[in-house]
């Protein structure tokens, strides 16, 4: 009887040990910071490192690696080392879902999700079901955060800092503006509506509003209609390469007035335009030349590591990792539930990051944004009006 009781006791102890090992999986237990943190915490980033969004995913990775290096060098988590490994979701929702399932089962205490909306939308419900705190960057799909309370987005919505562009138009005395926008990208359509709805508040009218799609190469017909009312400014609200095509045809039609664009026109996209891009103004969430101390600090560290200026995807990745590190520190544990509480606390408090003063509204990051002007191929911050 006694023997069988001992066996049962050993069995219970083993089960308890197995459970705690499972919970702490991804964390090598040890003395850590002395606040319940292990020696090492292994985080995972399921990221689009190849495929159509591969370049964006790679830029994000560089920013994340910069943050990991800094966190460990400065001993932000005491003696606890943060490690980050990558799983390539390859801009493929099916692959992203599979990688997220594997990661969730593996027991990492926090994961960073994929860059593209479609992939992120496939991953978020899996992470939520596994009660795995997850931070996405980019992935602007409107339903992403609806997956549940474990899901955070560390990229501000463009609509949250678009007011900078509108203020700029007002400061330039614009009274009559024209708008051209792609109808096949929800974020761009949202911006077009914001532009139209806010025009009166900023003292101008939208004299012509023309729709196109990102696949329509020749937009001469729309441009004739945009220029007919002789606008003071034109808002080119289109996707990536389409910016080049629309602005080129505006210049071909002889338009030399003010052009404002959406964030997608930044990051060197307008390079093929050469001098035709000079004077285009847009609001972005990050600029490496910004005077913001957080942006400058990140830019210096990034340059030291990669010998090039960072873009906004890298800055967003950097802030996402810092958000995670702050949440872990706040939690004082590598437990998923406690890290979620840590995320909630940090989101409430906000912090200073590469994107400036970072706050959150319903797990959605909000940042001040920065207005830039393109000249000679470079993006230079414009002084706030």
């Amino acid at each position: 009887m006694r023997r069988s009781g001992s066996v049962r006791l050993i069995g219970l102890a083993s089960a308890a040990a197995l459970m705690s090992a499972t919970i702490a999986c991804g964390a090598n237990t040890g003395s850590g910071s002395g606040q319940g943190l292990p020696d090492k915490i292994d985080l995972v980033s399921v990221q689009d490192l190849s495929g159509t969004s591969g370049p964006g995913g790679q830029s994000t990775k560089n920013g994340m690696d910069t943050a990991i290096k800094e966190i460990n060098e400065t001993k932000f988590l005491g003696n606890t080392q943060l490690a980050l490994s990558y799983e390539d979701s390859a801009t493929d929702p099916a692959k992203g879902a599979s990688k997220m399932s594997q990661t969730a089962a593996g027991g990492t205490p926090l994961v960073f999700g994929s860059f593209t909306s479609a992939t992120a939308l496939a991953e978020a419900p899996i992470a939520q079901k596994a009660k795995l705190p997850t931070i996405f960057t980019q992935a602007g799909a409107s339903g992403l955060l609806d997956a549940g309370d474990y899901i955070y987005r560390a990229t501000p919505l463009q609509t949250s800092y678009f007011n900078k562009t509108l203020e700029y138009l007002q400061s330039k005395g614009v009274k009559k503006a024209s708008l051209i926008y792609d109808t096949d990208v929800p974020t761009i359509v949202d911006l077009a509506h914001q532009f139209q709805d806010s025009s009166a508040k900023y003292g101008f009218t939208v004299a012509a509003s023309e729709a196109t799609t990102s696949k329509q190469v020749d937009v001469s017909s729309q441009i004739s209609k945009l220029l007919a009312p002789q606008p003071d400014a034109i808002f080119v609200d289109v996707l990536l390469a389409h910016n080049v095509q629309v602005i080129k045809q505006l210049r071909q039609a002889g338009y030399r007035g003010l052009i404002v664009a959406q964030q997608g026109a930044g990051g060197g996209v307008l390079k093929p335009l050469g001098a035709d891009a000079d004077g285009v103004v847009l609001a972005n969430d990050f600029n490496p030349l910004s005077a913001d101390p957080g942006s400058q600090h990140f830019t210096q560290r990034y340059q030291a590591q990669f010998n090039e200026l960072p873009g906004n995807f890298s800055a967003e990745g950097y802030d996402a990792v810092w958000l995670a590190a702050r949440a872990i520190k706040q939690a004082g544990s590598a437990d998923r539930a406690k890290i979620l509480q840590g995320l909630q606390t940090v989101a409430q408090q906000g912090f200073d990051g590469a994107l400036g003063k970072i706050t959150f509204q319903n797990r959605q990051e909000v940042t001040p944004g920065v207005l830039v002007e393109i000249r000679g191929g470079a993006e230079t911050p414009v002084k706030a009006p």
Binding site: T183, T212, D218, S221, A241, Q245, Q252, G268, G274
Partner: protein
């Protein structure tokens, strides 16, 4: 008046792109789905070159045509001819060539995507056409628009004459109708195939370098959307008919411009394809094919 000019420019771009596709399809029975990628690669090649040296625009244009032509000939030699030689059944060969062209297109697109990080590419300022804008009252036209219209009209006329009246053109039509009999009559189908594929690719290269100058940049997938519309134009006009391509392109270009002039741009693709569906339902053989001859 401005919208008439816009429609004319659009028509010329469509014609230059679709003529090459129609030529290979109508005469060699090659439904070349790599035509869009060949178009893109023609421009991509000259952009790569001009990034290393300031090449005058006047030299870039024939270079793009040569690149487009060579790519097309390579496709013929490496993909289409081996399929034709190995597969006796002509219907089966056409299907296999179509699949082969899809593979070839994805290789070209992937190369360009890797080289450009899937970003837009344009002709550097040192080599770009210095395009001026000419104004007449409320109407304006740029140098590149004039070049596109002139070349669109001139090449359509030249190709039409070549197919209808030249010795090569007559031989080509003979091969298209009955290759074996044409061969017995002394026609060399291999040489004709090479010349035709080169001409088709050269037209794609020309269209791409003109379009990239007009709109500033292309992307690795820029040819895909044009390809879909070109198929529609060819079917609309009648497969194998040069006049049919011109008419098909006119229907699409004018239709799109009318939609853009009077409604929102959202409807442009839907409206143009609705016109095409209507024509296909009323006249399935296309506008310019009077009767269909079946080879037996």
């Amino acid at each position: 008046m401005q919208q008439v000019l816009n429609a004319l420019v659009l028509w010329s771009i469509y014609v230059l792109f679709a003529l090459g596709l129609s030529l290979a399809w109508g005469t060699l029975n090659v439904l070349n789905l790599a035509h869009g990628a060949t178009f893109m690669f023609g421009a991509f090649s000259v952009v790569l070159l001009s990034e290393h040296a300031d090449i005058p625009f006047g030299v870039l244009v024939p270079l793009a045509m040569v690149f487009g032509g060579l790519i097309s000939v390579l496709l013929d030699l490496l993909v289409f001819r081996p399929i034709r030689a190995r597969v006796g059944n002509s219907r089966e060969a056409e299907l296999l060539m179509l699949i082969g062209s899809v593979g070839a297109a994805s290789i070209m697109v992937t190369i360009a995507q890797q080289a450009t990080d899937d970003s837009p590419f344009g002709i550097p300022e040192g080599s770009a056409l210095r395009s001026a804008v000419y104004r007449f009252g409320g109407f304006s036209i740029s140098t590149i628009q004039i070049v596109i219209i002139v070349l669109g009209v001139a090449l359509a006329a030249l190709l039409g004459w070549w197919i209808r009246s030249s010795r090569y053109g007559r031989a080509l039509r003979a091969v298209a109708f009955d290759g074996e009999t044409a061969q017995l009559m002394g026609v060399n189908p291999g040489r004709l195939s090479t010349a035709t594929m080169f001409a088709a690719g050269a037209l794609a290269g020309l269209a791409s370098v003109l379009l990239i100058s007009h709109v500033g940049a292309l992307t690795p997938t820029s040819g895909d959307n044009l390809l879909l519309k070109a198929f529609a134009m060819i079917i609309l006009g009648g497969i194998g008919s040069i006049a049919g391509v011109l008419a098909g392109a006119a229907v699409v270009a004018v239709g799109e411009t009318l939609v853009l002039t009077f409604t929102s741009g959202t409807w442009v693709d839907a409206a143009s394809f609705a016109i095409i569906i209507a024509v296909i339902l009323i006249r399935p053989q296309g506008i310019f094919v009077a009767q269909k001859a079946d080879r037996v």
